[in-house]
Amino acid sequence: MKFGGLIFANLFRKKIRLMLTIGSFAVALFLFGVLAAVYEVFDVGPDLAVSDRLIVINRASIIQTLPVSFKERIEHLPGVKQVTFHRWFAGIYQDEKNFFPQYAIEVENRRQVFPEFVVPDGQWQVFAKDRQGAIVGAATAKRFGWKLGDRIPIRGTIFPGSWEFNLDGIYHGRHTEDDQSEFWFQWDYLNERLALQQRGQVDGIDLRIENRDDSVRIGKLIDAEFANSLAQTRTYTDKAIGASFVKQMGNVELLILSIGGVVFFTLLLVTGNTMAFAVRERTSEIAVLKAVGYSELFVLLLVLAESLVLAVVGGGLGLALAKLFTLRGDPTGGILPFFHLSPKAIFTGLAVALVVGAASGLLPAIFAMRLRVVDALRRV
């Protein structure tokens, strides 16, 4: 590192310029980090789900229901291990802005089908016996300061009226990325309060299968089973339903990539311009370095090293801030339940910062490398 002093001395030559350039990288990588965290909400969740889990929904649309009786018929199909179901509730807790996902669930098989959500046995037993019981994710419990035994009133929207629940349990995800914002209560409680013609319906039937390699075959088997029924089904893997959900929200990936692309292209122009100025203003110094014996390759690497140090420091700062930001949890109050910046995204961000750093330093570095000592000294 005997040349480290030279690199850092050059970087600190103009402190305001240094801070602004590092700031540009930091802002861009902070934005990248936040966008990556948003993207992962839609992409990483299904990835983390066990791949031997399928979901059956109404073929017409995700908002159409299925008869609960389908559960029993699916349970009897070969290769199916456990089956449960859920219904979307969409109630309001105190104010519309306090959004969190609420599901009326089947109690018996829920924990077997969704093993990534951990509820202490004692709490689950209480919940199973309490018709008005509820289980809530740790994030939502923390958000509203709920404790076990609290009475939680929710105003129904799809199912009008005032609904009251007893908080019997709090679940935690096995992975930090697992959604810890959901609110579950017993499907029986919902069902018994509905009008007769609304009863016995679910939004989705979730199941685990014996062998994950059988998912396609079993999916077709299930859909064939209900092909001539009033409610035809479509069976997806967890991943596919996640992708389908994202598609309904628009092409999030394209949107995020577009924003990220524009940000990084702008960053490339800004830092490239800065590095070009930084090299041009010390033309004579570069000439002196070459005159006293520094090679063209050394000069090229010196300029590139300065650019890369800027990228790593600025990019690292931006990603660290993004990580801190995501550690505070979902900033939208429920739309981004597992808002999280993964190590993979951090490494990707650093790699992108390095590429931008190298690209922005390359032209000035080549200029410095090709600079003829005689010409440079003549300019002074």
């Binding site: 001395a9 370095l289 005159a291 014996g293 063209e296």
Partner: protein, 246 residues
Amino acid sequence: MVRVHDPYNSSSLIRVRGLDKKYQRGGEEIHVLQGLNLDVDKGEFVAFMGPSGSGKTTLLNLLGGLDVPSAGSIGVAGDEISHMSRRKLTEWRARHVGFVFQMYNLIPVLTAFQNVELPLLLTQLSKLERRSHVEAAMTMVGLDDRMSHYPRQLSGGQEQRVTIARAIVSDPTFLLCDEPTGDLDRKRAEEIIDLVQQLVKEHGKTVLMVTHDPVVARRADVTLHLEKGSLVEAGLAAEVTGGGSV
């Protein structure tokens, strides 16, 4: 002994034969140096004078391996440099040439010590050895108490002394000084030339210097005049040798 016409000396430290340098400017060919011969022995102090555009700096650049001749040869301490690749020339400069420029060209964000240390970073010397070499060079130029100063904290004369320290720190074969006093007042110029003379007389350095200043040139052992690309006149400053010699 410095000779500009005798082509038979083979023991010189610097041996230039038939040196030509041409430039293309637009469609015009400019002949800067034409068939120049020169021999310089070890420990000599040579001044080059001449009007602007006469080729003084071009000659210095060629001797220092910063530029390549259009024709002719340049031998330094047995190395023929006129046909070296750019990479080889760079390595050769690091070992053999110390440069002193008119505008000092110190790196402003490095201290005097760090500026002088720059050529040594390319060597295999340890940090301790580098420090010892830098301290010796700074002592030689009388600035051992200014090592941690930045160039902006030094006077013009002091800056030029640091440049000289940087030029001699790696103990090069010879020094090339391009108008080393051109940016200094008379008193500071005298001090710098005293120092250069001291390097020649006490430490046996070989110095080739370009200057416009006749007072400074008179302090050299020999003054050579360049005009229209040729060494047309040799002013005797010290020893005169026969056969067209100076």
